[in-house]
Symmetry: C2
Subunit: 376 residues, 2 copies
């Protein structure tokens, strides 16, 4: 009997040692370490190393990893191209194009050895924040800010975006958010990278596919949609009415539900107190309180359907209070997720097999070609 | 029991009315029409219409389809970007970047209605040959040739490449080759487009993923590799020795074998006489005869393993005798396959489901975070 599985639900496409999601028990592990412990004790660069290389780095390993990233932050090779990009472009389309362009400038582009593939992934990891920040400044009529090699990945990004050094706490908050978004098992974008590289294509092609796949509102766009939903609600007092009305119309509550989690998303638990902290500090409690009351009402209404808030529910509020424009949120996700994409791509290539499923044909056969003058 | 299926072999990811490959009986159908009949009686534009819209067009439908394509061939919007592309770039990296850039310039980029999605696909279909030809001229220090709206898709491409109008027969041969390459069920690149669009991302992202996926030597690069193999053999008299030696070393014979075909690829049968015709006309019989003798020896040696020549075996000789550089072959494949990618993407979206498989976790859990100074 032919079984058609459109979403590939519950199909295992590889064995993996990168990530485990325990959807029943609200747990997420990177390389065996719980996300809560990494968010509390580690930092993004160390987590990227862990994902890509399989274990926590020694001091020397981390130091040379950090130096490689810091030295590769510059994007001079595509700066002329960046200046040609229409200011009205969607930032995801921009990033997809710019990363694809990096592949034309890398002298190791056609070296498919593992070492070169790792270096190419790290170059994209290093350059992506610079690209995102440069475009945001260019579209606002400002000159890009050159990266500062003395700053961490997170701090340098905020610096390149605003031109001002962030506070230690702001940088730490973005660092935690990058850790939370770095990896999430065989999601659509990581799978997309794997499909691309399974033909023995290269890392730039893989990451370009990942960015285009993450763009879709069913994947990367949910935090922006959640933030806009809170804005539409407008005031905490309108939350309950909004949820009733939305569910009556069978509309989705953005930032709720996940194919794997059947209870709370552990990343949500880390994000919520950070969203509260920043909202308070920025004097923007009304939006946060709106989110909390929408959440409370939606949890009550949706618990029976096993729909719970996920990481996207509060992350938009956090990014927004770090002065990041909503249409950049998906790119922030990408900046972090490149590390997971790289890890999955490298792991897939260790024992590669071309990914080539089938379509089940339900059409007719042996039609006779009719000359155009006899068609109607 | 957990089954891990790395290549997704024999997994059906959707029902489809686009393409049927009868691998046992050497048959290939587009929308129910056999590839032999389409190659003989139809033309590429009509086949693209058939694939995308599901039936052969009436005269009016074809006329308006052709006009839309001809009117959209220009690439003025990315011409400055094209001039920035390093002349040494791999043409596939170039095309991936240029198509991604088109998405930043399309005013319908964020309109995900079916009609707008079709129009976006047709714009890429119309512009891709112009991009490929323009880059080939720019890298050779020549000015790009503007498209000629009076020429067919195939004839116009050859014209933009060389600056000279092709003969009717040359244009027809490329037209046939485009028909043969237009579609091939749920191959890795069509699947890659489907994964990307399943997040509700857009057509430009999907086709960009397809190009990056087609780049790999396990997918789009085989005809170039086959041509280079014939060149390495050097002379028809060395064919048998070459095959013996290659098989002894367990090396692949390029252009042989296919996951679906367990007998001859029907596209191979159409291509071989065309390769002979062009080789004779160009006075390049030695390379063609080398290919024939390698083929004969390899068929004898490999028939027991059910490995037969596929479309890639002779298509490189055809393209080469149409004065197309070998590193452009994958882009010719893309120019044709955009029609199949568009058809699959549109069909997938009719009843979309996010493609999100799983990875089977075989790593450890609950590792304790060790501070960096205590790691070794």
């Amino acid at each position: 009997m032919v079984v058609v599985n459109k979403g590939l639900d519950n199909i295992y496409v590889k064995e993996s040692k990168i990530c485990f999601i325990d959807g029943e028990n609200s747990k997420l592990y990177y390389r065996g370490f719980s996300i809560e412990e990494l968010a509390e004790k580690s930092n993004f660069e160390e987590v990227a190393y862990l994902l890509i290389h399989g274990q926590l780095p020694t001091r020397e390993q981390l130091s040379s990893f950090n130096s490689f990233l810091a030295e590769n932050r510059g994007i001079e090779e595509i700066m002329n191209l960046m200046r040609l990009i229409p200011k009205t472009s969607h930032p995801v389309d921009m990033l997809r194009t710019a990363v694809s362009a990096l592949g034309m400038h890398d002298s190791e582009a056609s070296d498919n050895s593992r070492d070169a593939t790792v270096r190419k992934a790290l170059r994209v990891l290093a350059k992506a924040p610079t690209i995102v920040a440069a475009f945001d400044r260019l579209r606002k009529g400002k000159e890009p800010v050159k990266p500062d090699a003395r700053l961490s990945h997170a701090a340098n990004f905020l610096y390149m975006l605003s031109g001002k050094k962030p506070t230690e706490r702001e940088a730490k908050i973005l660092d935690i958010m990058l850790i939370l978004h770095a990896e999430h098992e065989m999601n659509a974008s990581s799978f997309s990278c794997s499909v691309t590289v399974s033909t023995l294509s290269d890392m730039y092609s893989a990451i370009t596919s990942g960015i285009g796949t993450l763009k879709g509102p069913l994947h990367g766009g949910a935090n922006e949609a959640a933030l806009k939903m809170f804005m539409r609600v407008g005031d905490p007092s309108k939350a309950e009415e909004f949820v009733d009305e939305a569910l009556r119309r069978k509309e989705k509550i953005m930032g709720f539900g996940h194919r794997i989690y059947k209870s709370l998303d552990p990343r949500y638990r880390v994000t919520k107190p950070i969203a509260a902290e920043l909202a308070k500090q920025r004097g923007k409690m009304s939006l946060y309180e709106t989110a909390v009351r929408v959440e409370d009402a939606a949890i009550k209404a949706l618990a029976a359907s096993k729909l719970f808030p996920n990481v996207d529910y509060y992350s938009g509020i956090v990014f927004s209070n770090l002065s990041i424009d909503p249409d950049l949120f998906t790119n922030i996700f990408t900046i972090a997720r490149i590390s997971g994409w790289a890890a999955h791509t490298l792991e897939y290539l260790e024992d590669n097999r071309l990914i080539r499923p089938k379509a089940y044909y339900t059409g007719t056969l042996d039609l006779k070609y009719v000359p155009i003058e006899r068609r109607s």
